[in-house]
């Protein structure tokens, strides 16, 4: 049995699955239920200064695709709307009940040293394992100069991180906003400020949909809407790219990563971990299906690790990072072509029409004795994978390697590249 125990910058948890700072971690009742269900840790929903914020009614929007509910999700909820001392009491109570679980507290106060200093002391008193700085909230709080308004300015990230390290013994995790041009700016700033770790991504600014009767963005609040924070399975690719960029950045080495963004099952978690995250945080999947999903995540990850021979999570953390390269490092001599398994083909013709209309006209639509037959024209196929992706039958279209595998030739050496580096004499 693979060992799932996690030690994330000194924060221990029985598995790497944490609930992200969000509605599911807003109060003791929920967090106790989560821990009973098997979650390794939680990041408590963001605390702020009293008086608490006020939330609106009508808070979530969802993107359903082809009958799949909640493929994407967004919210316009702010940080906790409960008084600070109630949250602090509950955090203390939970930590006492579950000493083996990770309890990290998310924080967001105005960009003033005194504000941070004050709340850090209060959190430390609860016995919490660490803090996460919410520099990511993309709506509402950012209009008040907090959340992503801080996260978008590397100097502020560095400054607040430094305050937190100065005024607290707790490990500091900086939660990054994806609503920026280059994730490395704030990530490196967090590193310079002394952060132990970064967590990412926070939600992406979004308009979920437009109610065409009301003519307002959803979720609609009395006839009006605002942009919200996008999350759920649809954002996973965006999140993974940002995680991987930080994981491979020389300046960010030594800083741990907690991966967030559409993680719904063990496979998603394994992918984030292979890209350098050492814990993962989940919210939307739990909000969709309840806390019990963690059982499958832990079981699935453990079984997969056993199959691969990974004894613990550390054994494959960041393992895919050496293979995450820049485009110019890809082999231009690698050549694959599509191959259609005629025995499993169901004759839907989607491969043909996709290639014919939008790609390289390399799948012929034939009629043989009245029957449909789709055949790859190998000379025309550029190996783009489009047909494989549109084919509804798994493994019916596969991409077969055709090149001789002889030389690895990148753009840097290619003769079409006017800036190419000549091989050394």
């Amino acid at each position: 049995m693979a060992n799932l125990v996690s030690n994330f910058v000194g924060i221990r948890s029985p598995n790497p699955f944490w609930l992200a700072s969000a509605p599911p971690t807003d109060k003791e009742y929920n967090v106790v239920r989560a821990f009973r269900a098997g979650w390794g840790g939680v990041v408590w929903k963001t605390l702020g200064e009293d008086p608490p914020v006020v939330n609106v009614s009508s808070r979530y929007g969802a993107f359903s695709y082809n009958g799949t509910r909640v493929a994407g999700f967004n919210n316009i909820e702010l940080i906790t709307d409960r008084p600070l001392d109630i949250n602090l009491q509950e955090i203390k109570s939970v930590k006492r009940q579950f000493p083996d679980r990770a309890v990290v507290v998310s924080l967001m106060v105005p960009c003033e040293e005194e504000s941070w200093k004050r709340i850090l002391a209060q959190v430390e008193d609860t016995g919490a394992d660490g803090i996460e700085l919410n520099f990511g909230c993309p709506h509402g709080m950012s209009e008040r100069g907090m959340g992503s308004a801080v996260g978008q300015v590397p100097e502020y990230v560095e400054m607040v991180t430094r305050w937190c390290k100065q005024h607290s013994r707790m490990p500091v995790i900086v939660k990054l906003t994806p609503n920026i041009t280059n994730i490395l700016g704030p990530a490196r700033a967090a590193k310079r400020g002394g952060a132990d770790a970064v967590s990412l991504i926070n939600t992406i600014q979004s308009i979920m949909s437009v109610d065409l009767d009301v003519m307002a963005p959803t979720p609609v609040v009395d006839g009006k809407g605002t942009h919200g924070g996008y999350c759920g399975p649809a954002v996973k690719p965006i999140a993974m790219r940002m995680v991987a960029d930080i994981a491979r950045d020389p300046e960010c080495q030594g800083m741990a990563i907690s991966g967030i963004g559409g993680i719904s099952n063990w496979r998603d978690a394994a992918e984030f971990i292979s890209l350098g995250a050492s814990t993962v945080q989940v919210c939307t999947a739990a909000m969709h299906h309840g806390f019990r999903i963690v059982e499958e995540m832990a079981d699935g990850l453990s079984n997969w690790m056993d199959g691969k021979g990974f004894g613990d999570v550390k054994a494959f953390t960041g393992m895919a990072i050496p293979n995450y390269v820049h485009w110019e490092d890809l082999n231009l001599n690698y050549k694959i072509v599509a191959k259609i398994d005629q025995d499993t083909c169901i004759k839907c013709g989607l491969c043909h029409i996709a290639c014919e209309d939008t790609s390289h006209q390399s799948i012929a639509a034939l009629r043989i004795d009245g029957g449909r037959r789709y055949e790859v024209i190998e000379e025309e196929c550029v190996g783009c994978n489009l047909c494989m992706h549109v084919c509804p039958v798994e493994d019916c279209i596969t991409m077969e390697r055709l090149d001789d595998g002889s030389s690895y030739m990148t753009w840097k050496e290619h003769s079409n590249n006017p800036m190419r580096r000549e091989a050394a004499e």
Binding site: K347, L350, H352, R372, P392
Partner: protein, 455 residues
């Protein structure tokens, strides 16, 4: 010992409670709601060169209409269907989709679970009908006149297409209602809420069509006169004869044609008033046999047996239809042919059958071994035909050309041997379905339009 022959025939109405009649003749396949339709529509792959489309006799653009359902453009979906098949509503209810579009669906190949195209088609067409939307606009009148004989699926399809082109169409119908077998020949639980008439009203509401009821060819009108009075004639007159068993006892009380019973049942406002036997035997293997057997059972008959002279795979009723009858408690007995209808006091009491086999040459043969099935009623469902001489018009059988089985000979435009006379539906043969009749009418209308406009 008392023989079955000593017990009088038990044929009576009112065998069930009012509630049972209501349930038994309600919609056998309830419609999809929006949620169900969206989930089912999402299963469609939107195939290129879709096999389902090719399998539909009317060539409905099935992937397109399903995609429109998936995007909540239900009106668009309905129009896509009705543009190719004006009786898309009936076809959604009665088509044997398991041997047409749904058999061809690539999901059948993939997982033996096709997209339920028929149910989706019903969802879309019901949506339009429920809102009484008329999506078609008639072209400016051309002044050309066409006579259509028979207001069944073929005739109405032809009339509708011609009327939209601006031609004036007069439809002659011998029955008091239009719709043909949609109205008189399909099991009641497939066509609830007077759907056949609602569809007729929809077709006629596009304008340009006048229906003259109670007018039969050869009795009230003649082809010769129609040819003289109109620019073109379309004959959609269906069958005019029911095949007989040609065995002893066919005249006994209790022996009747299945089609007559089905028609009477459809027209009866109160099903409890319909007399039905306690023991029923149905002879035949088509959808008519299934419909009469299942409906007899649903009227309260105790034992209903369909006897067919060959095996299940030879039946023209599909596997799904046979299963439907069986789950309704109908027994299907294969490999037996009727020998004698045995009566007592002028009433049917038993049917004697002989077992059948295929001989060495593959021909059907009796084994000589017989058995008897008690019966208060026998329904004959061994097929219908078109007999030209049964059309009462002088010289009718001489002015046209016919196929060897008596049906009209037509070319691919459904044009008969007379240049301005076209025909379609059961009177030209084919696959004996509403959908193919609609296609005949549509194809003929295109040809007639070309003939009238020279285009």
């Amino acid at each position: 010992m008392t023989s079955v022959m000593d017990v009088p025939a038990d044929i009576a109405p009112g065998r069930l409670s009012p509630r049972e009649y209501e349930v038994n003749f309600d919609d056998a396949t309830p419609p999809l709601n929006r949620k169900q339709a969206l989930i089912e529509a999402a299963r469609c792959y939107f195939c290129y060169d879709a096999p389902c489309m090719e399998a539909c006799p009317t060539g409905i653009d099935i992937p397109s209409f399903i995609r429109k359902i998936a995007t909540d453009n239900v009106k668009g979906a309905a129009v896509t269907i009705l543009e190719e098949n004006i009786m898309g509503g009936t076809c959604a209810r009665v088509c044997p989709t398991e041997i047409l579009c749904e058999q061809a669906c690539v999901r059948t190949a993939q997982e033996h679970k096709p997209v339920t195209i028929g149910a989706l088609q019903r969802y879309a067409t019901d949506w339009l009908f429920d809102r009484e939307i008329q999506p078609f606009t008639r072209a400016e009148p051309t002044g050309r006149k066409v006579a259509v004989v028979g207001a069944g699926p073929a005739g109405l399809s032809c009339a509708h297409a011609l009327a939209l082109h601006g031609h004036d169409v007069t439809v002659f119908e011998m029955q008091p209602k239009a719709g043909g077998l949609n109205e008189y020949g399909i099991a009641a639980y497939k066509m609830t809420n007077d759907f056949a008439q609602r569809e007729v009203d929809f077709i006629l509401s596009a304008g340009g069509i006048t229906v003259e009821y109670g007018k039969a060819l050869g009795r009230d009108i003649t082809l010769a006169q129609l040819r003289a009075d109109y620019d073109a004639v379309f004959l959609g007159i269906g069958h005019n004869a029911v095949n007989a068993l040609r065995i002893a006892g066919e005249d006994l009380a209790g022996v009747s044609n299945a089609v007559d019973f089905i028609a009477a049942l459809r027209q009866a406002p109160d099903k409890s008033a319909l007399p039905v036997g306690r023991k029923i035997v149905v002879i035949g293997g088509g959808n008519t046999a299934i419909d009469v057997a299942t409906q007899s059972k649903r009227l309260g008959a105790e034992d209903v047996t369909i006897v067919y002279r060959r095996g299940p795979e030879s039946m023209s009723a599909t596997g799904a239809e046979q299963e439907w009858a069986q789950t309704n408690g109908v027994r299907i007995k294969y490999w037996a042919q009727p020998r004698t209808l045995v009566g007592s006091g002028g009433s049917l009491r038993e049917v004697e059958f002989e077992y059948t086999v295929l001989d060495e040459a593959g021909r059907l043969a009796g084994t000589g071994e017989v058995f008897r099935v008690p019966a208060d009623m026998v329904f004959k469902a061994i097929g219908q035909s078109f007999v030209p001489s049964a059309v009462g018009e002088e010289g009718f059988a001489e002015i046209l050309e016919f196929q060897p089985d008596g049906r009209f000979a037509v070319n691919e435009d459904r044009q008969t041997s007379l240049a301005n006379v076209f025909a379609g539906g059961d009177c030209i043969g084919g696959i004996d379905l509403t959908v193919s009749a609609v296609q005949d009418g549509k194809v003929a209308a295109r040809a007639i339009h070309r003939l009238l406009t020279g285009s």
